[in-house]
Symmetry: D2
Subunit: 258 residues, 4 copies
């Protein structure tokens, strides 16, 4: 890989309020529904997760969907619900930003901004995110090499923002038994190459509810700095990703067995 | 695949000035340098290509580069050079747009707007392109399935713009002998699934100069509606993609042997 | 790639009876059913193909099937039917050998021995094939790199048998719209790297009947030395690969449109 | 997947001498050099590993090498050294069989017979292995889907041998930072689909010495029934796979940190 890099592997700790992410700090838990669907849904989820144990509340409001005819998220309305749920429980919140047009409002409300897998190669967007003073969660592109992922992070850092958390979420392979192939070796590799915290998303990384628990344990065992898990009050009725979302009870088991 | 689609396979002819693309119209040739590097370079290229035979002049001015430290293109200045070269030769021009911030100026100058491989999954961007009254060239994402590519086109069409040209440019595989694996079966498949014209980019599709000619012939033999080829006055000195760019002489051979 | 190689790219012509394969000799057509199913089936196929135009008759008798419970081929009985059909029409025959136990009988009856995709990495088998005095058709492994394929051919040649025909039959990719991703760039690459003749199997390479014709044309356009096509008297009733087999009429069109 | 299967997911415990593999039995450790290189090398390795803690001694004597000109293993001579080392230390031994010609001698000496990644699709070979009364370690093919791997095991079991241990050793992906992409989700999946014990080979699965320890921990955390690790007295001088082999000290750390 290139010699000239700001990210040389020296350890970087990302702070979100009082939360410290990376290095030897305990792994963080980010959980919540794929999509914010209603005020009730996100409120119930937030309170339940708070009780079980969670560090950051996630909820998608702008959804990158393969089909233009699939549910695209509640947008600004959803963001407000998510914000309220965060406020009511005292939890920091994270949501994905897809479009610079909504950058200001998302940056105002969210504690962490997520760059989704489909935007990891969107270099204009990465540059803009680099100019924000806000922690960024950068998901690995669905077919990004280690080098491309490192350099995507470097785009953000080179434009001024060192608060980057990396998220391994599975890569695309020839086998479709699982939704993606979770590449756990990327955890120690990316920590060494960049020094940034690396968390794992076993929900997208497998796409299968039953695999979330064993893959969460494996992720922590190889040194992941946190987990990002989809949890829904009623997975079979979820508007998106129900098959990979945990119930509260299942999430509690993951939390307990860490 | 989904039932509800505007793109049902019924043939769509895209017009660019007097040029008709798709169906039984003769295949078009798009050629030019990966990057516009100077006024002289693009002028010389335009006149040479015009003489050899070309339908549209290409030239990158905003370059999506894996590293933040690589040459990022001349930007607006390059767009002006490209525009001048088009005007001087009477050739329509195409360039890639990466960032909505430059949409108006690119839409004003360019005859076709290119959406690069890295933005095929950028749904916000696709929606915006769908609202333009301008032909769009939509490259296949580097790991996009046929279904995802069809639905990316559907995003543009569903928002009002039916003038979409598809471009197969190779997909990512396990073998790195070539830069990408050119998937020519995608030509008849995408024509049947969408009805849109499908052209092939053998330069990115192989990354190897010597393979551009045989792959161009193969692309036309299986029904491609055109070719997009990188040509540079002096490939070894090109600021990007020199190893896959043809000299004028090599391009002339491709043109003659069609 | 390694320096030490017998296959340096110098052109090798493989002879099968009066048939010359490779270099500037006209492309050869190998056709027949995936599996020999009965004496009647292979006889009818042989006579029909002979009339339409074919150089070598193919028919599988030992079938490498993913499931142990799928039809495994007629074995020696099938080989005898194939032999009779070849004799009756004067056509040379090719069949796949999977097991050295049947090597002598296959070598006695067949004019070309096929090494299937699943055995390309079976180095013990390649060495044994290298000691035979019989043309070998070496299919590309389903995930073999160019380098691994070159070296598999080198295994055969290094053990004494230079009569090797290579066959591109598609590689495994992330997209399952087609059965495999036909990598036509491998045709000029392998010709240059090895000097051996390279033919293309568009039937396995796509797995879709409608794509056999356009991909056959593309293969010949980029210089393939021949085609290997599955043809069956009644594809919907075929015991294997019916969906990718052509009828006689469809094969006739491929033959005419070359 | 197919309905008709002997492997229905009901738990199978494989016994090797007093060693029980699978179910809730403690994970086993298989370790040793990629290749048996000399009597001294394998003896030293066996005694050191015995002291540190190991259940089965591995050593390759027939090596499937990509190039016909690379070191192909010591053959029968190596097998005798391995046998002696096993006897001297009281450790059961495992080695790869590539060629049925050596089946009897390998079956006589080895306690477990390994089927390498390149032979997972070699169905004739699998059938023969199914007729042996000897535990088989079946590595996953380098591009085998879950279904194909399940059915490869089914081939062995259907021919009479239920003593099959599965080994995940990484699959081929588009990224070559690591030698293979270790697919740990396959561990719980294959346990559930087949009921067979599943072990993990982090040495081939990553190809990088530093990753063996974190990936070993991850493998055990998600339920692997054992590990297979390459250890060499002097990795930089190994005749094969030195870059992924551990020293005795490094192996000791893996053993201790489990």
């Amino acid at each position: 890989m290139m010699d000239k890099r700001i990210l040389t592997g020296e350890q970087i700790i990302v702070e979100v309020g009082n939360l410290k992410i990376g290095g030897n700090h305990p792994p963080i838990y980010i959980a919540g529904p794929c999509s914010v669907e209603s005020k009730e849904q996100i409120m119930e989820t937030a309170f339940q997760l708070k009780e079980i144990g969670v560090d950051v509340l996630r909820g998608g409001v702008f959804k990158p969907r393969t089909s233009p005819y699939a549910f695209q998220g509640l947008g600004i309305e959803g963001l407000e619900y998510l914000k309220e749920a965060g406020k009511a429980t005292g939890l920091p919140i994270i949501t994905e930003l897809m479009d610079e047009k909504y950058m200001d409002v998302v940056a105002e409300h969210a504690d962490i901004i997520q760059i989704g897998s489909r935007n990891m190669f969107n270099y204009s967007f990465l540059k803009t995110m680099g100019r924000l003073d806000k922690p960024i969660l950068l998901k690995r592109g669905m077919c990004a090499t280690i080098e491309e992922w490192v350099l995507a992070a470097e785009y953000i850092v080179a434009h001024g923002n060192k608060n980057v958390i990396l998220c391994e979420r599975g890569i695309r392979s020839y086998d479709h038994y699982t939704r993606n192939t979770l590449d756990l070796a990327a955890v120690p590799i990316m920590q060494k190459e960049t020094g940034l915290p690396v968390i794992v998303d076993p929900s997208h990384g497998t796409g299968i509810r039953e695999l979330v628990k064993p893959m969460s344990k494996a992720a922590l065992a190889c040194g992941a700095n946190g987990l990002m898990i989809e949890v829904h009050p009623n997975p079979p009725c979820a508007l998106s990703d129900g098959h990979q979302s945990l119930t509260f009870e299942e999430y509690e088991q993951v939390r307990r067995d860490k």
